[in-house]
């Protein structure tokens, strides 16, 4: 089974896209409950499925040793996948293991939709999600340093290496697999065009009416309302929201000029690479 990664830096519209896709693939359940998505929610870095598949407690290994096991687990998941579409969420950058193998596989077995969101808006949203200051979030987005992971605790996910915002994007755009780039801002401004491009990449042939219905059922305001009324499993903390604003340009208003300048540089690096790729095509 072909694996499609739905790759993005955190807080870039990954969840929103999966809600849209659930509404498209399961119209009988539309509008879907975000807490009970009928399509898989299996993130690439989830520890539980890896433990289940390999049959042991991975807390016995260092994080580097665990990372080396992930490609084989992903291959096994693809081989055993029973549903029609193997689309899996991923926040990891496209990196390589110490032995040179890519962590996230390569074409033709793996393809990826990469969701890109303006870094200034990511910074505001991530600050809320990570419970850090905006300044700290901006620093994270601009830092390419692979965090020196200390195996001092264990969490439900394997450590994810994000790199900087620009290197995250470039790592995927330059990866040896077929990539469909979509921009979060276009998911707002040109939803039909953007979502249609993505689902065609996934090999789906739904017509425009069905796509429009799924977009309508995935409206951000509805998701916000549901989170307030029923809660959402990924709401970061009490008193906060996962589906916070879902707007574009918020960062332009609330970031300092110094913060914005750093992120504009990040954006420029990616825009240049995208331009060069488009030029080559």
């Amino acid at each position: 089974m072909q694996t499609y990664w739905l790759a993005s830096y955190p807080k870039s519209g990954n969840t929103w896209f999966r809600i849209f896709l659930s509404n498209l693939l399961y119209p009988e359940l539309s509008p879907v409950d975000p807490n009970q998505l009928p399509m898989s929610n299996l993130i690439a870095s989830a520890r539980g499925p890896a433990q289940e598949i390999m049959g042991f407690n991975t807390s016995l290994l260092t994080s580097e040793e665990s990372a080396c096991l992930r490609p084989a687990v992903d291959d096994f998941i693809a081989r055993s996948w029973k549903r029609s579409l193997c689309l899996r969420k991923a926040h990891d950058a496209y990196t390589h293991l110490p032995d040179g193998r890519p962590l996230m596989g390569q074409g033709p077995d793996y393809k990826a939709i990469y969701v890109l969101r303006d870094p200034w808006d990511v910074a505001v949203s991530a600050a809320n999600h990570w419970d850090v200051s905006i300044d700290k979030a901006v620093k994270s987005l601009c830092s390419s340093k692979k965090p020196a992971h200390v195996d001092s605790d264990i969490t439900e996910q394997f450590p994810q290496h994000l790199l900087s915002w620009s290197r995250h994007a470039l790592s995927w755009l330059n990866s040896p697999m077929e990539i469909c780039l979509i921009q979060y801002e276009n998911m707002h401004s040109e939803p039909l065009l953007t979502f249609r491009k993505a689902i065609r990449f996934l090999g789906l042939d739904h017509d425009d009416e069905h796509i429009k219905d799924a977009i309508h059922a995935s409206e951000f305001k509805r998701l916000q309302r549901l989170e307030v009324d029923d809660g959402y499993v990924e709401t970061p903390r009490k008193g906060t929201r996962f589906f916070r604003k879902g707007v574009k340009g918020e960062g332009l208003e609330c970031l300092s000029s110094a913060q914005l300048e750093q992120l504009r540089q990040q954006r420029a690096i990616v825009d240049k690479a995208i331009g060069e790729k488009a030029g080559k095509v």
């Binding site: 975000p34 807490n35 998505l37 929610n41 520890r47 407690n57 807390s59 439900e156 499993v233 990924e234």
Partner: protein, 299 residues
């Protein structure tokens, strides 16, 4: 030969297992013999292959490249370790997948859960992997004061004469990370390192010694935030929940069919579904509603 009890079974080994309690003899009980030796390549056609295992009705292999290879046959585990592999890591690994396979050959199944007992019944805790079920179990034993540890990672559940599930003590303590050890004030407890590279410790706390009925399985996301996350596929646990929970949380569930124990496993899941309740973990039922005691864990 040294004898140890693990998950209700007896291990016979010339290798010392300081993680387990040594017993005098096997008293005619089912025995798993553990030996160091050569493990040949696992290229038999009858085997079903996974990423780090090959399983079949007569023999199975489980390995971690660069660390160790195991060959498991009914009643016997042979291991071949790499020269630089830590002995305690090999023992820790042996007590997981290879023992699960050895138990399955003997028709015994385990739930991948932590569990505590109150002297008359067992409650199992199933959190997300890495979500802190071990910490929650240790909290119930050391802070709640009224419980004893029954299992940390593997809860062997057998069926008694009337078909009721009986849970066997795992007998290997609880694996805890420094933060949990500190928050639970367990620094004075007897504990052993698993390997020099990692600070995770196997801690000995008050533990049950005999089998007791399994009554409840509590599900939660994390010890500090009990709601389940949607990062994993738990959404399908809707209809026929107890049966599916038992089936999906069976340790080594992917090996049941290739080993040839499908029918036995079905009956086992059915018995758990009939006799055990599945409950959502809450601060009340997991931490006696003592938020003040729970709060240090929320860091």
């Amino acid at each position: 030969m040294l004898y140890y009890r693990y998950c209700g079974f007896v291990i016979a080994s010339s290798t010392k297992f300081p993680e387990l309690i040594e017993i005098k003899s096997n008293k005619g009980e089912p025995l798993t013999l553990i030996e160091e030796g050569e493990v040949p390549p696992s290229n038999h056609k009858k085997l079903c292959f996974g990423p780090n295992w090959a399983v079949g009705p007569d023999e199975s292999y489980w390995w971690l490249n660069g660390i160790v290879r195991f060959r498991i046959t009914p009643g016997k585990i042979i291991y071949q370790a790499e020269l630089n592999a830590s002995e305690s890591l090999i023992r820790a690994l042996l007590l997981e997948a290879p023992m699960i396979l050895a138990l399955q050959y003997a028709g015994a199944f385990c739930l991948a859960v932590s569990a505590v007992s109150d002297g008359s019944k067992v409650d199992a805790l199933k959190f997300l992997a890495g979500g802190g079920a071990s910490t929650a179990a240790a909290w119930q034993v050391t802070r709640g004061k009224t419980r004893r540890l029954h299992s940390d990672t593997l809860l062997h559940v057998s069926l008694d004469d009337s078909g009721c599930p009986m849970a066997w003590p795992q007998g290997s303590g609880v694996l805890l990370w420094p933060k949990s050890i500190e928050l639970l004030n367990l620094k004075q407890q007897a504990m052993r390192a698993i390997r020099p590279e990692l600070p995770v410790k196997r801690v000995k706390i008050s533990s049950e010694t005999g089998p007791l009925p399994l009554k409840t399985i509590y599900r939660a996301g994390f010890h500090s935030r009990l709601e389940e996350s949607s990062q994993e596929d738990h959404n399908f646990l809707q209809g026929r929940r107890p049966f599916r929970l038992a089936a999906l949380q069976t340790a080594g569930r992917l090996w049941v069919d290739p080993i040839g124990k499908t029918a036995d496993h079905f009956s086992w899941c059915l018995s758990i579904a009939r006799h055990c309740r599945i409950e959502k973990g809450t601060e009340q039922n997991l931490y006696s509603g003592k938020k003040d005691l729970l709060s240090p864990l929320k860091n």
